[in-house]
Amino acid sequence: MVKREETIAFFVEQAKNDFSLVEKNLAGVISEIKNSNMKKLNYIEEFDAADVLRQVAELKKAKYKGKLFGVPVTVKDAICVKGIESKAGSKILKGYKPLFDANVIERARAEGAIILAKTTQDEFGFGTFATHTEKVPKNPFDNERSCGGSSGGAAGFTAFTKNFHVAIGESTGGSIAAPASFCGIVGITPTYGLVSRYGLIDYANSLDKIGAIGKNAEDAALLLEVIAGYDARDSTSLENGFKKEDATIKRLAVIKDFFEGCDEEVKKVVQKKISELRKFYEVEEVSLPLNVKYALAAYYIIATCEASTNLAKLSGLRYGAQGDVGGKHFDEYFSEIRSREFSDEAKRRIILGTFARMSGYRDAYYLKAMRVRTKLINEFNNAFKRYDLLLNPTMPVVAPKFCEIEELTPLQNFAMDLCTVPANLAGLPHISVNAGFINGLPVGLMAIAPHLQERRLYSFAKVME
């Protein structure tokens, strides 16, 4: 049960009348940043104290006191913040300071948020454990273990802080839900197109969704409502926003196929939580055989294809890592910078995506994956004719140790996304909420709603809490 005094909404209400609360809370969060940096927990990629002080001075004078008045907000590194290094966890964008704020940053600032720091992530979001980057965030429950990825720093810091704070994350195939599960907090990934991608350093355009991470569902929901909305600068931005009517939930269904690949202990914790939910809802079982079989393959084809075209623009000119062009031909220069600055994971995904788009293979892989995606969306939509929400364990395991992750092949790594990928591929809104613990390590339960039914997720998560 979340106490009202623990919510951001309560803090904002108090802070509007007493600015010292903003200063006190901020000082607390800043000392936590310093403390976590000293311990090398690696949640924070970039923190500019002078920039934060300037924001506080402005906020003090502000006439309009918004929904996030005085709330420190951390931002996944892939989201552009004006004047603050934004490199999506990569080496190739080192030194890049955007000339503009992403739409979500503009919206958060307009509601009085303090844009505090950038959080660590897998390079370009390429990963499930936030290990594909230089600064690897460590799980606050056990520093030998992963925070989950790719929004690892965001979830790690949200679990670490004792103060009022929310984090803006981003999910392509599960990058909000996975770290939320491993760090025992709440992550909401909205419907594709609900939140503008303007200013997001993209991974895969048809999959990327900026979302919200908080200590509880109310905090995450509040942040999501602030950052959501139509933006003409994103051609896939939805004009009408989420459905505001009827968030009543009667019937839930557990996606039984998604349990099959899960660890026995994880299954038990999730099933126990679900049996408690029977007090509030009718709970049945549903099978999504096509999603369980084909979603991962379709997802990784689409994601790598789109990533390989997006990363084609990174060539060592105009911004980020640069070299000496000397008398070099452009092919030679671009190849030199790209080969030097991309990590193994980025190179593998670029190769996979380039392969799947090559003439001769395009129809068999890329186009086929897009057709299969239609089938998979239809399978979900059919299930939603009978059920208001669908449930599954967020991750098949608890946060693994770094030494265990090293043993995984890239394909085994991809397979960890089994439960999060289908909803992401279908652009469906979903939430991960803590369902319990195994030996002190959090286990997440994921609920998936039909497109634009984010409100059902909030109402469900409140019952869970």
């Binding site: 000339l99 048809s206 079989k293 105009r318």
Partner: protein, 126 residues
């Protein structure tokens, strides 16, 4: 069932056959070799070292063969979903808006790759 492999150089490109229902299915059957990966990497402007090639080839092979090629099993005639939700073209007025200044545009370029207010790039002609 008649099946016929098509060969493109060293790469087995595709095997298509007629199934009992008379529908032609395309089975992408790819032989993932060092040569293929090196060629793809070159297209993507990546120079791979021998060590990288040795590492990547089995990893990529596993992904293509065990994961990507799973889609060969399923027949999909549906329209492709290039986005997961329906979106439509939106027109806007052709109005002049203020953009960034030349000075701002050059801010992120290194001193070596900037000259007289322009970006400096590599040679385009061989």
């Amino acid at each position: 069932m008649d099946s016929k492999p098509l060969y493109f150089g060293k790469i087995v490109f595709a095997v298509y056959y007629k199934n009992p229902f008379g529908v032609v299915l395309f089975m992408a059957k790819v032989e993932v070799t060092k040569e293929l990966i090196a060629k793809v990497a070159k297209n993507a402007r990546l120079n791979l070292t021998d060590a990288e090639l040795e590492r990547f080839v089995p990893q990529i092979k596993e992904i293509i063969v065990d994961s990507f090629s799973k889609l060969d099993e399923i027949d999909a005639k549906e329209e492709p979903s290039f986005q997961p939700v329906a979106i439509s073209n939106r027109m806007r007025k052709d109005e002049v808006k203020k953009g960034i200044t030349q000075e701002e545009a050059l801010k992120n370029a290194s001193a070596k790759l900037r000259e007289n207010g322009y970006f400096k790039g590599p040679k385009v002609m061989k």
